[in-house]
């Protein structure tokens, strides 16, 4: 049960049940859609950029607890960050959930650190990173729906 408790931490369950910034963004300057064909998870990320800064960010969609919580906590974390900071955070987050660095000491992750348990569930990595891949597509202005496959 310990693996499961690591995966489904209270903060993840809370964000999975009550996602924050879960809405369309009227002033969005960019958006992109992501899709995980494995489980049918869909997410749409809206971003309002102010120059190089993420002024506002939100999401809509349907997904499992991990993907919903990941999108929710991502939007909370990225408000006010620059593009470069967002990209760096994605890298660090990716290292965290894929367990690529044995002991990841990255205080900048903040709440995102609750996803450390994902590394024990390789099949769920895509759930945790779907919103991030979609965000990257939104920031890079990719037109197509982003797929995890």
């Amino acid at each position: 049960m310990t693996d499961l408790q690591d995966l489904y931490q209270e903060l993840i369950l809370d964000h999975g049940r009550k996602p924050r910034n879960f809405k369309a963004l009227d002033n969005a300057t960019r958006s992109a859609e992501g899709y995980n064909p494995l489980c049918g998870d869909k997410v749409k990320i809206y971003v309002e950029m102010d120059g190089d800064i993420v002024k506002d960010i939100s999401f809509e969609g349907a997904g499992c607890a991990i993907s919903t919580a990941s999108a929710s906590i991502m939007t909370e974390t990225l408000k006010g960050k620059t593009r470069a900071q967002a990209e760096e955070l994605f890298q660090t987050f990716h290292d965290l959930v894929t367990g690529q660095k044995a002991q990841l000491d990255a205080p900048e992750l903040g709440k995102l650190a609750v996803f450390s348990g994902v590394s024990e569930f390789p099949i769920r990595v895509k759930c945790a990173t779907l919103s991030w891949h979609t965000l990257r597509a939104a920031l890079n202005g990719a037109a197509e729906v982003i797929s995890t496959e």
Binding site: M1, C39, G40, A65, I123
Partner: protein, 422 residues
């Protein structure tokens, strides 16, 4: 077949006991393992079934003693391989009660069999303005080949609706048949819902309109005693790996007169009679549709699987699985917040469900840690999910080696899911 001793005890004896899955389990080496420290509870049989030792051994034996190419060698090994391959064809013929063994075409699986019909029969007979009729409960593999065909030909794909229980609405199906309809293709047993379609009635209605019928039998062959002549369907497809055989081998049955008139699907070796650079004449049935060296070991494995299933008996299998399904339906229905998707009156061993407040993917992960293997997702039937307004389901699918205790384990696992999600 007369059964003798052990699990194959007298009919009267088996009626009392019904069935002992724990004895049958002994035939399946893979089922004896622990997963995350718990005994494996394999409830993903609709995705693929496990293989008995008889199948594994038959394939090992072939590679160890008979391996060679078929239909052309003059040497002993080739003779043995050819014989084993053709014997498997006859086993399939008897398994589905086809009139002749040349009506049995080996393919990679159900998907390739449907593609064969779409490409060969479809391209020769479906033209601009024509229609192909399917149902709203089809697997993607019985949607996409027809979509491709219709797109190419400027034809129209029509879809007969299903009701809230996941049953085909036969009156609506009949209304969609007309003089433009060139083919009907329908699933026998729905992989996502478990619904058993009334194939006999469907074929009768379609034939009244002079429309041939193809049946996707991927989920039916492991559970229902098949008789293609009684069903009177024109084409029937199923996969080896869902009927306890290996992956990469499947069957297309077609009525000989239809297959004879159809152009080849793929060109290559084995499917020709003579070749010059000016003209090629094609081989006779079934070889016309078996270009290239086939999956010989897989075919022999499928033959062994059919022997194994026959030994236990599909009628007994069907009866036991139905008991298990009823037990499972009852047990799952008592879990608060759980909703079964697919509640047809005629149903095979599929328990598709959703749980309030928990995504199926999360259910799957938690059950996996309990050693329970189920499938979660859209089951390659996205239009079915859309019909029920859900993104996905969790699906437990049954086989005759599953025991009631495994249903109990599933129920306990679902309670654990609810615990985790509070």
């Amino acid at each position: 077949m007369k059964a003798t001793g052990g699990i194959l005890a007298s009919e009267q004896h088996t009626k009392e006991l019904s069935f002992d899955p724990n004895i049958i389990k002994e035939d399946f080496p893979i089922l004896k393992q622990l997963v995350h420290g718990k005994p494996l509870v394999y409830l993903d049989n609709a995705a693929t079934s496990q293989k008995p030792s008889a199948v594994i051994d038959a394939m090992t034996h072939y590679y160890s003693t008979d391996n060679s190419n078929i239909h052309r060698g003059v040497h002993l090994l080739s003779e043995r391989a050819t014989q084993a391959y053709e014997e498997a064809r006859e086993k399939v013929q008897r398994f589905i009660n086809a009139a002749e063994s040349k009506e049995i075409i080996f393919t990679r699986g159900t998907t390739e069999a449907i593609n064969l019909v779409a490409n060969s029969y479809g391209r020769a007979n479906v033209n601009a303005g024509d229609e192909v009729l399917i149902t709203a409960m089809e697997h993607h593999s019985n949607i996409v080949p027809w979509q491709i065909l219709c797109q190419e030909k400027g034809a129209r794909l029509r879809v007969a609706p299903i009701n809230d229980d996941g049953e085909l609405v036969l009156e609506e199906f009949e209304k969609l048949l007309n003089e433009r309809t060139k083919l009907v293709s329908v699933v026998h047993v729905s992989n996502a819902l478990g619904t058993i379609n009334p194939i006999r009635a469907i074929v009768e209605v379609a034939h009244r309109h002079n429309v041939p019928v193809m049946i996707d039998g991927a989920q039916a062959a492991p559970h229902i005693k098949l008789d293609v002549r009684e069903l009177d369907c024109d084409f029937y497809a199923f996969s080896g790996h869902k009927v306890y055989g290996p992956t990469g081998i499947g069957v297309l049955y077609g009525k000989a007169n239809l297959l004879d008139a159809m152009p080849p699907y793929q060109g290559g070796g084995d499917m020709i009679a003579t070749v010059t650079f000016e003209k090629t004449t094609y081989n006779t049935l079934p070889y016309k549709f078996e270009a290239g060296t086939p999956n010989i070991a897989g075919t022999i494995g499928l033959g062994a699987a059919i022997d194994y299933v026959n030994q236990i008996g599909l009628v007994r299998i069907d009866r036991y699985e139905h008991e298990l399904l009823e037990y499972g339906t009852e047990a799952l229905s008592q879990i608060p917040g759980l909703r079964l998707i697919g509640t047809a009156k005629e149903k095979a061993g599929v328990l598709s469900f959703i749980l309030e407040g928990v995504h199926p993917h999360d259910i799957g992960t938690i059950l996996d840690r309990e050693g329970i293997a189920i499938r979660t997702g859209h089951h390659c039937a996205m239009p079915v999910m859309e019909r029920f307004g859900i993104p996905a389901t969790a699906r437990a699918s049954l086989a005759f080696y599953n025991a009631r205790e495994e249903i109990d384990a599933l129920v306990a696992g679902i309670h654990k899911v609810k615990e985790v999600f509070g």
